[in-house]
Protein backbone atom coordinates (compact mmCIF):
# COMPACT_ATOMS: atom_id res chain seq x y z
CA UNK A 1 0.00 0.00 0.00
CA UNK A 2 2.60 2.51 -1.14
CA UNK A 3 -0.19 4.81 -2.25
CA UNK A 4 -1.51 5.09 1.29
CA UNK A 5 1.97 5.82 2.62
CA UNK A 6 2.56 8.37 -0.12
CA UNK A 7 -0.78 9.95 0.68
CA UNK A 8 0.05 10.08 4.37
CA UNK A 9 2.93 12.35 3.45
CA UNK A 10 0.45 14.83 1.99
CA UNK A 11 -1.83 14.91 5.02
CA UNK A 12 -1.76 17.70 7.50
CA UNK A 13 -0.42 15.42 10.24
CA UNK A 14 2.87 15.00 8.42
CA UNK A 15 3.53 18.71 8.20
CA UNK A 16 1.85 20.48 11.07
CA UNK A 17 3.99 22.68 13.30
CA UNK A 18 3.52 24.04 16.80
CA UNK A 19 3.02 27.43 15.20
CA UNK A 20 0.08 26.12 13.17
CA UNK A 21 -1.47 24.68 16.30
CA UNK A 22 -1.06 28.01 18.09
CA UNK A 23 -2.66 29.88 15.21
CA UNK A 24 -5.53 27.39 15.11
CA UNK A 25 -6.02 27.99 18.82
CA UNK A 26 -6.08 31.74 18.18
CA UNK A 27 -8.65 31.19 15.44
CA UNK A 28 -10.81 29.20 17.86
CA UNK A 29 -10.43 31.99 20.41
CA UNK A 30 -11.62 34.58 17.85
CA UNK A 31 -14.67 32.46 17.03
CA UNK A 32 -15.42 31.97 20.71
CA UNK A 33 -15.14 35.69 21.44
CA UNK A 34 -17.37 36.47 18.47
CA UNK A 35 -20.05 34.05 19.59
CA UNK A 36 -19.97 34.40 23.36
CA UNK A 37 -18.95 38.04 23.75
CA UNK A 38 -20.42 39.37 20.49
CA UNK A 39 -17.14 41.20 19.82
CA UNK A 40 -17.35 42.39 16.18
CA UNK A 41 -18.70 38.98 15.16
CA UNK A 42 -19.09 39.88 11.47
CA UNK A 43 -15.32 40.10 11.24
CA UNK A 44 -13.87 38.08 14.09
CA UNK A 45 -15.79 34.94 13.12
CA UNK A 46 -14.70 34.90 9.44
CA UNK A 47 -11.15 35.82 10.44
CA UNK A 48 -11.11 33.11 13.09
CA UNK A 49 -12.33 30.40 10.74
CA UNK A 50 -9.95 31.70 8.09
CA UNK A 51 -7.04 31.43 10.54
CA UNK A 52 -7.89 27.76 11.05
CA UNK A 53 -8.09 27.22 7.29
CA UNK A 54 -4.80 29.03 6.72
CA UNK A 55 -2.96 26.90 9.26
CA UNK A 56 -3.86 23.51 7.88
CA UNK A 57 -0.30 22.70 6.79
CA UNK A 58 0.41 23.17 3.10
CA UNK A 59 1.10 20.24 0.82
CA UNK A 60 3.90 20.54 -1.71
CA UNK A 61 2.55 20.78 -5.26
CA UNK A 62 -1.02 21.69 -4.37
CA UNK A 63 -2.00 25.35 -4.65
CA UNK A 64 -4.20 25.89 -1.60
CA UNK A 65 -3.12 28.88 0.49
CA UNK A 66 -3.70 32.57 -0.19
CA UNK A 67 0.00 32.78 -1.10
CA UNK A 68 -0.05 29.96 -3.72
CA UNK A 69 -0.43 31.28 -7.25
CA UNK A 70 -3.57 29.99 -8.92
CA UNK A 71 -5.27 28.75 -5.76
CA UNK A 72 -8.90 29.61 -5.11
CA UNK A 73 -7.93 31.47 -1.95
CA UNK A 74 -5.28 33.47 -3.81
CA UNK A 75 -7.92 34.74 -6.25
CA UNK A 76 -10.23 35.72 -3.41
CA UNK A 77 -7.32 37.29 -1.49
CA UNK A 78 -6.42 39.43 -4.49
CA UNK A 79 -9.18 41.86 -3.55
CA UNK A 80 -7.31 42.39 -0.27
CA UNK A 81 -3.81 42.87 -1.68
CA UNK A 82 -5.02 45.08 -4.52
CA UNK A 83 -6.98 47.24 -2.10
CA UNK A 84 -10.34 46.68 -3.83
CA UNK A 85 -12.32 45.31 -0.87
CA UNK A 86 -11.82 48.15 1.63
CA UNK A 87 -13.41 50.85 -0.56
CA UNK A 88 -16.33 48.52 -1.33
CA UNK A 89 -16.87 48.03 2.39
CA UNK A 90 -16.72 51.78 2.84
CA UNK A 91 -19.40 52.11 0.14
CA UNK A 92 -21.69 49.96 2.25
CA UNK A 93 -20.78 51.75 5.48
CA UNK A 94 -21.56 55.06 3.81
CA UNK A 95 -24.93 53.70 2.72
CA UNK A 96 -25.61 52.70 6.36
CA UNK A 97 -24.36 55.78 8.18
CA UNK A 98 -26.49 58.68 9.26
CA UNK A 99 -24.24 61.74 9.53
CA UNK A 100 -26.98 63.85 11.15
CA UNK A 101 -25.35 63.86 14.57
CA UNK A 102 -22.17 65.19 13.06
CA UNK A 103 -23.94 67.77 10.92
CA UNK A 104 -25.69 69.17 13.95
CA UNK A 105 -22.48 69.53 15.99
CA UNK A 106 -19.66 70.48 13.64
CA UNK A 107 -17.21 71.37 16.39
CA UNK A 108 -17.25 67.74 17.58
CA UNK A 109 -15.72 66.83 14.21
CA UNK A 110 -12.39 68.10 15.52
CA UNK A 111 -12.34 65.38 18.18
CA UNK A 112 -12.36 62.86 15.33
CA UNK A 113 -9.23 64.55 14.06
CA UNK A 114 -7.43 64.76 17.39
CA UNK A 115 -7.79 61.02 17.96
CA UNK A 116 -5.64 60.42 14.89
CA UNK A 117 -2.70 61.37 17.10
CA UNK A 118 -2.55 57.65 17.85
CA UNK A 119 -1.59 57.01 14.25
CA UNK A 120 1.27 59.46 14.07
CA UNK A 121 2.83 58.83 17.46
CA UNK A 122 2.71 55.10 16.80
CA UNK A 123 4.51 55.75 13.53
CA UNK A 124 7.33 57.34 15.53
CA UNK A 125 7.31 54.37 17.87
CA UNK A 126 7.54 51.96 14.97
CA UNK A 127 10.50 53.86 13.52
CA UNK A 128 12.15 53.62 16.94
CA UNK A 129 11.70 49.84 16.96
CA UNK A 130 13.44 49.58 13.62
CA UNK A 131 10.63 49.40 11.08
CA UNK A 132 11.13 51.23 7.79
CA UNK A 133 9.19 54.47 7.26
CA UNK A 134 6.66 52.75 4.96
CA UNK A 135 6.18 49.90 7.43
CA UNK A 136 5.86 52.40 10.25
CA UNK A 137 3.12 54.26 8.41
CA UNK A 138 1.20 51.03 7.89
CA UNK A 139 1.61 50.06 11.55
CA UNK A 140 0.60 53.52 12.73
CA UNK A 141 -2.71 53.25 10.91
CA UNK A 142 -3.80 50.61 13.41
CA UNK A 143 -4.48 53.64 15.63
CA UNK A 144 -7.14 54.70 13.12
CA UNK A 145 -9.29 51.91 14.56
CA UNK A 146 -10.72 51.16 11.15
CA UNK A 147 -10.21 47.72 9.64
CA UNK A 148 -10.73 48.59 5.98
CA UNK A 149 -8.48 51.65 6.22
CA UNK A 150 -5.76 49.59 7.88
CA UNK A 151 -5.97 46.90 5.20
CA UNK A 152 -5.99 49.45 2.39
CA UNK A 153 -2.91 51.30 3.60
CA UNK A 154 -0.87 48.24 4.51
CA UNK A 155 -1.64 46.72 1.09
CA UNK A 156 -0.03 49.84 -0.38
CA UNK A 157 2.88 50.39 2.01
CA UNK A 158 3.75 47.05 3.62
CA UNK A 159 1.94 44.07 2.08
CA UNK A 160 4.16 41.64 3.99
CA UNK A 161 2.77 42.97 7.29
CA UNK A 162 -0.86 43.10 6.13
CA UNK A 163 -2.01 40.06 8.09
CA UNK A 164 -0.53 41.18 11.40
CA UNK A 165 -1.76 44.75 10.98
CA UNK A 166 -5.28 43.67 10.06
CA UNK A 167 -5.50 41.18 12.91
CA UNK A 168 -4.19 43.75 15.36
CA UNK A 169 -6.64 46.39 14.15
CA UNK A 170 -9.67 44.11 14.39
CA UNK A 171 -8.55 42.64 17.71
CA UNK A 172 -8.21 46.00 19.38
CA UNK A 173 -11.44 47.26 17.81
CA UNK A 174 -13.12 44.29 19.46
CA UNK A 175 -11.38 45.15 22.72
CA UNK A 176 -12.36 48.84 22.73
CA UNK A 177 -14.74 48.29 25.69
CA UNK A 178 -11.77 46.96 27.65
CA UNK A 179 -9.05 49.39 26.52
CA UNK A 180 -10.81 52.74 26.60
CA UNK A 181 -12.64 53.14 29.95
CA UNK A 182 -9.59 53.24 32.26
CA UNK A 183 -7.87 55.83 30.05
CA UNK A 184 -11.03 57.92 29.87
CA UNK A 185 -11.46 57.89 33.65
CA UNK A 186 -7.80 58.60 34.29
CA UNK A 187 -7.79 61.74 32.13
CA UNK A 188 -11.10 63.29 33.23
CA UNK A 189 -12.53 64.61 36.49
CA UNK A 190 -15.92 63.57 37.74
CA UNK A 191 -17.21 67.08 37.01
CA UNK A 192 -16.12 66.78 33.39
CA UNK A 193 -17.76 63.39 33.00
CA UNK A 194 -21.02 64.88 34.29
CA UNK A 195 -21.19 67.61 31.63
CA UNK A 196 -24.44 67.40 29.69
CA UNK A 197 -24.57 68.28 26.00
CA UNK A 198 -27.35 70.44 24.52
CA UNK A 199 -29.78 68.49 22.30
CA UNK A 200 -28.54 68.40 18.71
CA UNK A 201 -30.30 70.68 16.24
CA UNK A 202 -32.52 69.44 13.46
CA UNK A 203 -30.67 68.67 10.23
CA UNK A 204 -32.53 69.22 6.95
CA UNK A 205 -32.64 66.70 4.11
CA UNK A 206 -30.79 69.20 1.91
CA UNK A 207 -27.90 69.40 4.33
CA UNK A 208 -27.66 65.64 4.41
CA UNK A 209 -27.58 65.51 0.59
CA UNK A 210 -25.03 68.29 0.20
CA UNK A 211 -22.73 67.08 2.97
CA UNK A 212 -21.24 63.99 1.25
CA UNK A 213 -20.47 65.99 -1.89
CA UNK A 214 -18.85 68.91 -0.10
CA UNK A 215 -16.98 66.74 2.38
CA UNK A 216 -15.65 64.57 -0.42
CA UNK A 217 -14.33 67.52 -2.42
CA UNK A 218 -12.61 69.01 0.63
CA UNK A 219 -11.08 65.74 1.80
CA UNK A 220 -9.94 64.61 -1.64
CA UNK A 221 -8.49 67.99 -2.61
CA UNK A 222 -6.46 68.17 0.61
CA UNK A 223 -5.47 64.48 0.67
CA UNK A 224 -5.87 62.86 -2.77
CA UNK A 225 -4.62 59.56 -1.35
CA UNK A 226 -7.83 59.34 0.64
CA UNK A 227 -9.86 59.37 -2.59
CA UNK A 228 -10.73 55.65 -2.86
CA UNK A 229 -11.83 55.30 0.76
CA UNK A 230 -13.45 58.68 1.35
CA UNK A 231 -14.90 58.69 -2.16
CA UNK A 232 -16.67 55.38 -1.72
CA UNK A 233 -17.78 56.21 1.84
CA UNK A 234 -19.42 59.46 0.80
CA UNK A 235 -20.72 58.06 -2.51
CA UNK A 236 -22.49 55.40 -0.49
CA UNK A 237 -23.84 58.08 1.81
CA UNK A 238 -25.14 60.09 -1.15
CA UNK A 239 -26.89 56.97 -2.48
CA UNK A 240 -28.54 56.75 0.93
CA UNK A 241 -29.54 60.38 1.32
CA UNK A 242 -30.46 61.35 -2.25
CA UNK A 243 -33.94 59.87 -1.97
CA UNK A 244 -33.82 58.72 -5.60
CA UNK A 245 -31.34 55.83 -5.39
CA UNK A 246 -32.79 53.84 -2.51
CA UNK A 247 -32.49 50.52 -4.28
CA UNK A 248 -28.77 51.06 -4.90
CA UNK A 249 -28.20 52.08 -1.28
CA UNK A 250 -30.12 49.02 -0.14
CA UNK A 251 -27.91 46.69 -2.16
CA UNK A 252 -24.73 48.53 -1.14
CA UNK A 253 -25.48 48.13 2.56
CA UNK A 254 -26.73 44.55 2.36
CA UNK A 255 -25.76 42.03 -0.33
CA UNK A 256 -22.71 43.93 -1.56
CA UNK A 257 -21.00 44.68 1.77
CA UNK A 258 -21.90 41.23 3.12
CA UNK A 259 -20.27 39.44 0.20
CA UNK A 260 -17.10 41.49 0.51
CA UNK A 261 -17.06 41.09 4.29
CA UNK A 262 -17.32 37.31 4.06
CA UNK A 263 -14.46 37.03 1.58
CA UNK A 264 -12.28 39.70 3.18
CA UNK A 265 -12.56 38.27 6.67
CA UNK A 266 -12.03 34.71 5.54
CA UNK A 267 -8.97 35.44 3.40
CA UNK A 268 -7.36 37.85 5.86
CA UNK A 269 -7.73 35.09 8.43
CA UNK A 270 -6.29 32.56 6.01
CA UNK A 271 -3.27 34.81 5.44
CA UNK A 272 -2.10 34.24 9.02
CA UNK A 273 -0.02 31.14 8.30
CA UNK A 274 2.21 30.50 11.25
CA UNK A 275 5.27 30.38 8.98
CA UNK A 276 4.82 34.03 7.95
CA UNK A 277 2.77 35.33 10.84
CA UNK A 278 4.54 34.14 13.99
CA UNK A 279 7.51 36.48 13.92
CA UNK A 280 8.98 38.92 16.42
CA UNK A 281 7.71 41.68 14.12
CA UNK A 282 4.12 40.58 14.64
CA UNK A 283 4.62 40.79 18.39
CA UNK A 284 6.01 44.31 18.06
CA UNK A 285 3.07 45.24 15.84
CA UNK A 286 0.63 44.00 18.46
CA UNK A 287 2.42 46.01 21.12
CA UNK A 288 2.44 49.14 19.00
CA UNK A 289 -1.22 48.59 18.14
CA UNK A 290 -2.26 48.55 21.79
CA UNK A 291 -0.23 51.71 22.31
CA UNK A 292 -1.89 53.38 19.34
CA UNK A 293 -5.40 52.76 20.68
CA UNK A 294 -4.42 54.16 24.05
CA UNK A 295 -2.84 57.27 22.52
CA UNK A 296 -5.79 57.80 20.19
CA UNK A 297 -8.20 57.68 23.11
CA UNK A 298 -6.07 60.05 25.13
CA UNK A 299 -5.67 62.38 22.15
CA UNK A 300 -9.39 62.73 21.72
CA UNK A 301 -10.12 63.23 25.39
CA UNK A 302 -7.33 65.73 25.95
CA UNK A 303 -8.23 67.72 22.85
CA UNK A 304 -11.79 68.05 24.16
CA UNK A 305 -10.39 69.42 27.40
CA UNK A 306 -8.23 71.80 25.39
CA UNK A 307 -11.27 73.03 23.47
CA UNK A 308 -13.06 73.60 26.75
CA UNK A 309 -10.41 76.16 27.67
CA UNK A 310 -11.56 78.33 24.79
CA UNK A 311 -15.30 77.82 24.55
CA UNK A 312 -18.20 78.69 26.74
CA UNK A 313 -20.38 75.66 25.87
CA UNK A 314 -18.31 72.98 27.53
CA UNK A 315 -17.82 69.64 25.75
CA UNK A 316 -17.99 66.46 27.79
CA UNK A 317 -14.41 65.26 27.24
CA UNK A 318 -15.54 61.63 27.26
CA UNK A 319 -16.78 62.35 23.73
CA UNK A 320 -13.16 62.63 22.62
CA UNK A 321 -12.74 58.91 23.11
CA UNK A 322 -15.32 58.29 20.39
CA UNK A 323 -13.01 60.03 17.90
CA UNK A 324 -10.94 56.89 17.44
CA UNK A 325 -13.87 55.57 15.34
CA UNK A 326 -14.23 51.79 15.83
CA UNK A 327 -17.81 52.66 14.90
CA UNK A 328 -19.98 52.34 16.89
CA UNK A 329 -18.21 50.57 19.73
CA UNK A 330 -16.28 53.54 21.06
CA UNK A 331 -19.45 55.68 20.95
CA UNK A 332 -21.14 53.03 23.06
CA UNK A 333 -18.23 53.08 25.47
CA UNK A 334 -18.68 56.84 25.86
CA UNK A 335 -22.39 56.33 26.55
CA UNK A 336 -21.57 53.60 29.06
CA UNK A 337 -18.94 55.56 30.98
CA UNK A 338 -21.10 58.69 31.02
CA UNK A 339 -24.11 56.68 32.08
CA UNK A 340 -22.21 55.09 34.95
CA UNK A 341 -21.53 58.57 36.33
CA UNK A 342 -25.04 59.98 35.75
CA UNK A 343 -27.82 57.62 34.64
CA UNK A 344 -29.68 60.52 33.04
CA UNK A 345 -26.83 61.65 30.81
CA UNK A 346 -27.27 60.20 27.33
CA UNK A 347 -24.13 60.79 25.29
CA UNK A 348 -24.61 58.17 22.54
CA UNK A 349 -26.08 60.48 19.92
CA UNK A 350 -23.42 63.14 20.58
CA UNK A 351 -20.67 60.54 20.50
CA UNK A 352 -21.72 59.53 16.99
CA UNK A 353 -20.39 62.88 15.73
CA UNK A 354 -16.71 62.37 16.58
CA UNK A 355 -17.20 58.68 15.90
CA UNK A 356 -18.03 59.06 12.20
CA UNK A 357 -15.67 62.03 11.91
CA UNK A 358 -12.95 59.66 13.09
CA UNK A 359 -13.65 57.40 10.11
CA UNK A 360 -13.07 60.28 7.73
CA UNK A 361 -10.12 61.44 9.81
CA UNK A 362 -8.26 58.18 9.64
CA UNK A 363 -9.01 57.77 5.93
CA UNK A 364 -7.44 61.19 5.40
CA UNK A 365 -4.49 60.19 7.58
CA UNK A 366 -4.08 57.07 5.43
CA UNK A 367 -4.11 59.22 2.31
CA UNK A 368 -1.47 61.51 3.76
CA UNK A 369 0.77 58.62 4.80
CA UNK A 370 0.38 56.95 1.41
CA UNK A 371 1.39 60.09 -0.46
CA UNK A 372 4.35 60.75 1.85
CA UNK A 373 5.68 57.17 1.90
CA UNK A 374 5.21 56.08 -1.69
CA UNK A 375 7.98 57.11 -4.01
Amino acid sequence: MDILVEFLGTTGFANISWGNLLMIAIGLAFITLAITKHYEPLLLLPIGFGAIVGNIPPTAGMALSVYDQGSVLSYLYYGVTSGIYPPLIFLGIGAMTDFSAMLSSPRLVLLGGAAQLGIFLTLIGALYLGFTPAESGAIGIIGGADGPTAIFLSAKLAPHLLGAIAIAAYSYMALVPVIQPPIMKLLTTREERLIRMPPPRVVSKRERIIFPIVAFIIAAMIAPGALPLVGMLLFGNLLRESGVTDRLAETARHAFIDMVTIILGFTVGASTQAQTFLTPQSLKIFGLGALSFAIATAGGVLFAKLMNLFTRDKINPLLGAAGVSAVPDSARVVQMVGHAEDPHNHLLMHAMAPNVAGVIGSAIAAGVLWSLMVE
Partner: protein, 86 residues
Protein backbone atom coordinates in the same frame (compact mmCIF):
# COMPACT_ATOMS: atom_id res chain seq x y z
CA UNK B 1 16.52 45.54 23.98
CA UNK B 2 16.75 48.38 21.58
CA UNK B 3 19.53 50.82 22.04
CA UNK B 4 17.91 54.15 22.87
CA UNK B 5 20.39 56.11 20.78
CA UNK B 6 19.83 53.87 17.77
CA UNK B 7 16.10 54.23 18.15
CA UNK B 8 16.26 58.02 18.21
CA UNK B 9 18.59 57.94 15.25
CA UNK B 10 16.03 55.91 13.29
CA UNK B 11 13.27 58.36 14.13
CA UNK B 12 15.40 61.22 12.87
CA UNK B 13 16.40 59.40 9.69
CA UNK B 14 12.83 58.34 9.05
CA UNK B 15 11.69 61.97 9.48
CA UNK B 16 9.32 60.67 12.11
CA UNK B 17 8.62 63.94 13.89
CA UNK B 18 8.08 66.15 10.83
CA UNK B 19 5.85 63.49 9.26
CA UNK B 20 3.82 63.23 12.45
CA UNK B 21 3.41 66.98 12.74
CA UNK B 22 2.60 67.39 9.06
CA UNK B 23 0.14 64.52 9.22
CA UNK B 24 -1.71 65.88 12.23
CA UNK B 25 -1.78 69.37 10.73
CA UNK B 26 -3.25 68.12 7.46
CA UNK B 27 -5.85 65.94 9.18
CA UNK B 28 -6.90 68.79 11.47
CA UNK B 29 -7.00 71.30 8.61
CA UNK B 30 -9.15 69.00 6.48
CA UNK B 31 -11.58 68.24 9.29
CA UNK B 32 -11.69 71.91 10.31
CA UNK B 33 -12.63 72.94 6.78
CA UNK B 34 -15.29 70.22 6.73
CA UNK B 35 -16.55 71.35 10.14
CA UNK B 36 -16.60 74.95 8.95
CA UNK B 37 -18.54 74.02 5.83
CA UNK B 38 -21.06 72.13 7.91
CA UNK B 39 -21.39 75.07 10.26
CA UNK B 40 -22.11 77.61 7.55
CA UNK B 41 -24.24 75.28 5.41
CA UNK B 42 -27.54 76.05 7.22
CA UNK B 43 -26.93 79.76 6.76
CA UNK B 44 -26.20 79.36 3.05
CA UNK B 45 -29.23 77.11 2.66
CA UNK B 46 -31.45 79.65 4.44
CA UNK B 47 -30.25 82.22 1.95
CA UNK B 48 -30.75 79.78 -0.97
CA UNK B 49 -34.20 78.86 0.32
CA UNK B 50 -35.35 82.40 -0.39
CA UNK B 51 -34.36 82.05 -4.02
CA UNK B 52 -35.09 78.31 -4.44
CA UNK B 53 -37.53 76.78 -1.94
CA UNK B 54 -36.93 73.25 -0.63
CA UNK B 55 -38.71 70.83 -2.97
CA UNK B 56 -42.01 69.73 -1.53
CA UNK B 57 -42.19 65.96 -1.04
CA UNK B 58 -43.33 64.83 -4.46
CA UNK B 59 -43.54 61.28 -5.70
CA UNK B 60 -40.31 60.50 -7.52
CA UNK B 61 -40.58 59.85 -11.22
CA UNK B 62 -40.39 56.08 -11.15
CA UNK B 63 -37.13 54.50 -12.22
CA UNK B 64 -36.84 52.30 -15.28
CA UNK B 65 -37.30 49.20 -13.19
CA UNK B 66 -40.30 50.46 -11.29
CA UNK B 67 -41.90 51.39 -14.57
CA UNK B 68 -41.25 47.96 -15.99
CA UNK B 69 -42.81 46.50 -12.88
CA UNK B 70 -45.69 48.89 -13.31
CA UNK B 71 -46.08 47.80 -16.90
CA UNK B 72 -46.02 44.20 -15.73
CA UNK B 73 -48.67 44.93 -13.14
CA UNK B 74 -50.76 46.70 -15.71
CA UNK B 75 -50.35 43.75 -18.05
CA UNK B 76 -51.34 41.33 -15.32
CA UNK B 77 -54.37 43.42 -14.46
CA UNK B 78 -55.27 43.49 -18.12
CA UNK B 79 -54.99 39.72 -18.39
CA UNK B 80 -57.14 39.26 -15.34
CA UNK B 81 -59.74 41.67 -16.69
CA UNK B 82 -59.94 39.63 -19.86
CA UNK B 83 -60.19 36.37 -18.02
CA UNK B 84 -56.85 35.28 -19.48
CA UNK B 85 -55.11 32.18 -18.23
CA UNK B 86 -51.72 33.84 -17.77
Amino acid sequence: MIDFQTGLQRIVEGQGVPIAIAGMVIVMVALSVIAGSIAIMPRILRWVAVVLPEPTPQLPRASAEDEAALAAVAAAAFHAAHGGEA
